[in-house]
């Protein structure tokens, strides 16, 4: 029995059929890479998996439970890093992270120092987001993954804007997460050198 499973998911967006009867199963320690051209529905699929959009048919099953029944409970299982960084430009890095620590139950303050260290944010902590470069903003956004206790990571083009060194660093973190019984679904154009399953949209 796999930990995470989607059954027959179909989606129509703006009169266009994006995908039909999509199925896959994922176990812990596994990585799924979603590939596809621009506009093929990668972001839409990730949003459906997060419960941000409703598919026209199909179901998502986690740990043998349907997410439609779990409802808000389901949100604790995953951490989602979307296409946008979801950080406030007039707040500092620290304030942004603290905001998420306060409102999200799956994040823990315990890992704060670790997240700062891994993404090399120490010198940026008290700088306003509007003064950061796009790569730095992305790192702030990604650092939420380290704060999170959730098993599943949904990542939408996580390495967008990162330089080579930070990209490699990020994949190292992803690998560690998978080794620690994690599970990740990533939409990316990059070549990912970690062993993975993949689907083409």
């Amino acid at each position: 029995m796999s930990f995470f499973e989607i059954k027959k998911i179909s989606c129509i967006r703006g009169n266009k059929l994006l995908f039909k009867d999509l199925n896959f199963k994922l176990n812990t320690k596994e990585l799924l890479v979603i590939k596809g051209a621009n506009g093929s529905g990668k972001t839409t699929l990730l949003k459906i998996l997060c419960g941000l959009l409703k598919p026209i048919s199909g179901s998502i099953i986690i740990n043998k439970k349907d997410t439609n029944i779990l409802k808000d409970e389901y949100f604790k299982y995953f951490e989602y890093i979307g296409h946008e960084n979801a950080i406030k430009s007039s707040l500092t890095v620290r304030e942004n992270l603290n905001f998420y620590l306060k409102i999200k139950k799956n994040l823990t303050k315990k890992n704060f120092e670790k997240a700062i260290k891994i993404f090399n944010l120490k010198n940026l902590l008290d700088i306003k987001i509007e003064n950061l470069s796009s790569g730095e903003k992305r790192r702030v956004s990604l650092s939420r993954l380290i704060l999170s206790k959730s098993k599943i990571w949904f990542l939408d083009e996580p390495t967008n804007g990162l330089d080579k060194k930070n990209t490699l660093n990020f994949f190292k973190i992803l690998k560690q997460h998978l080794q620690l019984n994690g599970l990740a679904i990533v939409a990316s154009h990059d070549e990912i050198k970690i062993k993975n399953k993949n689907i083409n949209l």
């Binding site: 409703k54 979801a86 998420y100 139950k105």
Partner: protein
């Protein structure tokens, strides 16, 4: 409940940081009133007659302008998605947003208007009246505006047309707000207009979180 206050505190913090944007609406209100004597060519009598109406009208305009993009920023930078998947009910998100916009734009107006009216030699009782009626009326305007902003969220075209649909909902507030400001408070007895205004406020408080929450939920379908 704690999250509710966290959202409000963060919103207020952000607006205090973005000084120019949050102050501009209050400056608009302030300057519009200060140039009124020029518009009425210094005629005290006419000015006094229309002053309260004009204050209400300017309050309405200020609120409509500042409430317009209430959810837009959070929606565009992905914050709304993140707040949603943190499990906070959309109704609570809606309420926190309306309360924070009320604190940011309306509270200064409510405090400033009686002081401004002092400049125009209005009777002291009238000042109390306008203070109380603004206190009751502005939350209604904010919540109706917030509902509009939630409904038009994500529409690029025609949003201005949709926002016109809710315009009639503002009008009772204007009518009874002005009447209440002009009414006389007799000891231990508040006037009819105040009662109607309070009734409208209670209805809006009871209904609008559900409509606003529903409008936001439609974005996640």
């Amino acid at each position: 409940m704690l999250n509710f206050f966290n959202l409000i505190i963060t919103d207020i913090k952000i607006s205090l940081r973005k000084k120019n944007e949050s102050i501009i609406s209050i400056l608009f209100f302030l300057f519009s009133i200060l140039i009124l004597p020029l518009v009425f060519q210094g005629d005290q009598e006419i000015l006094k007659r229309f002053l309260i109406g004009i204050i209400w009208f300017l309050t309405l305009l200020t609120i409509i302008f500042s409430v317009e993009k209430l959810f837009e920023n959070d929606y565009e930078d992905g914050m709304l998605d993140q707040i949603y998947i943190s499990g906070i009910p959309l109704e609570i998100i809606f309420l926190s947003k309306s309360l924070s916009i009320w604190i940011i734009t309306c509270l200064p107006i409510i405090i400033l208007s009686p002081l401004l009216l002092l400049l125009f030699n209005l009777q002291i009782e009238k000042l109390l009246n306008i203070f109380v009626s603004l206190l009751i009326g502005t939350p209604i305007l904010c919540m109706v505006g917030a509902v509009t902003s939630a409904v038009v969220l994500g529409f690029n075209k025609g949003s201005s047309i949709i926002s016109l649909i809710t315009l009639p909902l503002y009008i009772p507030v204007l009518i009874f707000g002005i009447e209440a400001s002009n009414s006389e408070i007799i000891f231990n007895q508040i006037s009819q207009e105040f009662k109607i205004l309070i009734g409208y406020l209670l209805i809006v408080i009871a209904i609008s979180p559900w409509i606003g929450g529903l409008a936001l939920r439609l974005k996640y379908r």
